[in-house]
Amino acid sequence: MQQKQIRHRYFKIFIPSMIVYVIGVFGISFAENYQWLSGIGLYIFAVIPVGAILTWFWAQWRFINELDEYLKMIQMKAVMFALAVILSIAASWGLLEMLANAPKLEIFWLVPVGFIAFGLAQAVIQKLENGAPNEE
């Protein structure tokens, strides 16, 4: 399969899953604010954003498997960077919360932070790896 087709197939899953994630998160927050949902209802509807994230992971997994070796390396570096950011925040702030009564950080925010770190890492790594283009 052509690299363009692979990218196209990835975005066909990535964009809708992110839309579902955002709608799911805002929808649940809205429903909770207006007390349309509570208790077990919240737990059940929390599956919507989780489903969207798992769908994105599946698309990302397939995307990385199908890319050529060079682009795969860039993707893997970006994933590792995002993972390092998330784990560093979770480990350091989590420890401070436990031992130093640091203000509580909702773990929900690790997801958007992870996505932002992943996106930024992709852009920066691609820029660094590609350097000065030598196509004539």
């Binding site: 052509q2 690299q3 890319l67 050529d68 070796e69 060079y70 682009l71 390396m73 691609q126 790896e129 590609n130 350097g131 000065a132 283009p133 030598n134 196509e135």
Partner: protein, 62 residues
Amino acid sequence: MKNKLKVLRAERGWSQAILGEKLDVSRQSINAIEGQRYDPSLPLAFKIAKLFGQKIEDIFED
């Protein structure tokens, strides 16, 4: 690792995109290999050698 990919490609009048299509890799990959920022795997090196009808060691050198 030094390589003659750019020269071999130019001899045939191929763009990076065309060579990428022939090898089933992206244009960025060809760009990175030619720019010596990325060393291809052994299977890709074999594929490149086969496409140009040369030995791997004639295209790539340490």
